[in-house]
């Protein structure tokens, strides 16, 4: 297994040029996530209109995996309904599940799924189990934000 499978071009790009960076005034949903063992931190603001994410802003610091995952996520959820987002979360999580991933969600490397797009670049993380929590940070924070919005 070569290290380049983990650090793909698109990941480095999102790490160095994070999308949707910043914060929103009076966001409709907000959450903060940390990975206490690594120190990675993430703040997520969402603007929602009629149950659809119209804007998203992210702040934080951490490794290329956690930060690129957040950046790609921010792109993937913009414009989506919360139901679609929940589906996306499930698909992403099952991709990150070392046990079930390859056989689920059309994630067979030979049959790339349609849903995740760029995010599929994070597949390589599965081979580095301790880094999975880095890739997941943005997504657990997103779940938290959706719960925040429900309240």
């Amino acid at each position: 297994m070569s290290i380049e499978e983990l650090y793909r071009e698109v990941i480095l790009d999102h790490y160095r040029n994070p999308r949707n960076r910043g914060s929103l005034d009076h966001p409709d949903a907000h959450a903060e996530g940390t990975n206490p063992l690594c120190g990675d931190e993430l703040t997520l603001d969402l603007r929602l209109e009629e149950d659809r994410v119209t804007d998203v802003a992210i702040q934080g610091q951490g490794c290329s995996i956690s930060q690129s995952s957040a950046s790609m996520m921010s792109q993937a959820i913009k414009g989506k309904s919360t139901d679609e987002i929940r589906e996306l979360i499930a698909t992403f999580k099952s991709m990150m599940d070392i046990e079930t991933a390859p056989i689920q969600a059309g994630l067979d490397p030979d049959r790339p799924g349609a849903v995740l797009g760029d995010l599929e670049a994070l597949q390589g993380v599965r081979k580095f189990p301790v880094r999975i929590k880095c890739a997941n940070l943005a997504w657990t924070t997103l779940e938290e934000a959706l719960r925040d919005q429900d309240d």
Partner: protein, 408 residues
Amino acid sequence: MNDLSHLRLDFPVLQRRVHGKPLVFLDSAASSQKPKQVLDVMDAAYRTYYANVHRGAYLLSEESTAAYEQARGKVARFINAARAEIAFTRGATTALNTVAFGWGMDHLRAGDRIVLTMMEHHANVVPWQLVARRTGAELVYVPMTDDYRLDLKRLSELLDERVKVVSFTGMSNVTGTMPPVAEIAGLARQCGSLVVVDAAQLVTHAPVDVQQLGADFVAFSGHKMLGPTGIGALWGRPEVLEEMEPFEGGGEMISDVRLDGSTWAPVPHKFEAGTPPIIEAIGLGAAVDYLDKIGMESVRRHEMELTAYALSRLAELPAVRVFGPAEVDHRGGVISFALADVHPHDVATILDQDGIAIRAGHHCAKPLTRTLGVPATARASFQVYTTREDVDALVDGLRRVQEVFRVD
């Protein structure tokens, strides 16, 4: 050149291969590996004479007790102390909690000051925060200078009659900084303060003589000095140990237990509640024997040479920035660094693929990491078994990181 490379053969784990590559272990500041001389002593103790210590009225218990108490003697001699001045603890953390709670709860009150430094490990911060909260005492932190030394000028300005405790590390586990312990202890004692030295790193990187340090307490862990996990020691000045309250209550630490109260056993047993880490103490004794045989002067020389070599080799990589003093006589073999904009975790993961083990993170010293202005650092740290070849492998590995991350 002070060559210790023959020692490598004593450390079985160093024969390990990782991801198909020979292991290059550069995380000894987190915990050191153990020589077979230590492992064999512990295993043999369990196999031939193990029993609970003290109170035993049969041969095995006598033998265990003798081995346990001999280990105390060895640890004492290692830092030039008397046997009764050494209490075995679970580690440096427990030793520091013992001081903070056992001494602090009875001696600190609102308005008193506890002076720490910005480069302390959490083990020397959190216990004091807990005790400060319960007693109303106030915490003050001595800053570092721009060249990663302790700001002694600020320290002496801070010292006044409100200061009841000065507790600081003998060697930073992040920057490697070795502050002048005896000088600081002298200043602190002048204003009547208790002096506590966190020697978790110091004790395995340089000779320590408690008669010259001028401290009241010195705390350290076995697992960082070639000994097993689960053991550490607290050295205390006899008068202070004598009047201090125990931290934990239980068996062995009592003289008498009545329904309405108890009296304590003599020092150091007062501080050893319950069944102690018996085999771990014996293992620490063996580790001390091993270090004694090399000689701590020689260990220190080895590390200075290796650290100088590593600093010069790292200087070949313009993208590497080292957080720590440049002069090896003010620092030990712990090198924290950043590589361009690559996050330390990514550095560690890429190095790991080449079999190179370094640590990435805040190294249990968040206040310090914040001061450095980075979320985390990468850290390579040395022990007696570390060689120039290990340093060379690190530099090659970092070149590979630069390739993967396209750093020029």
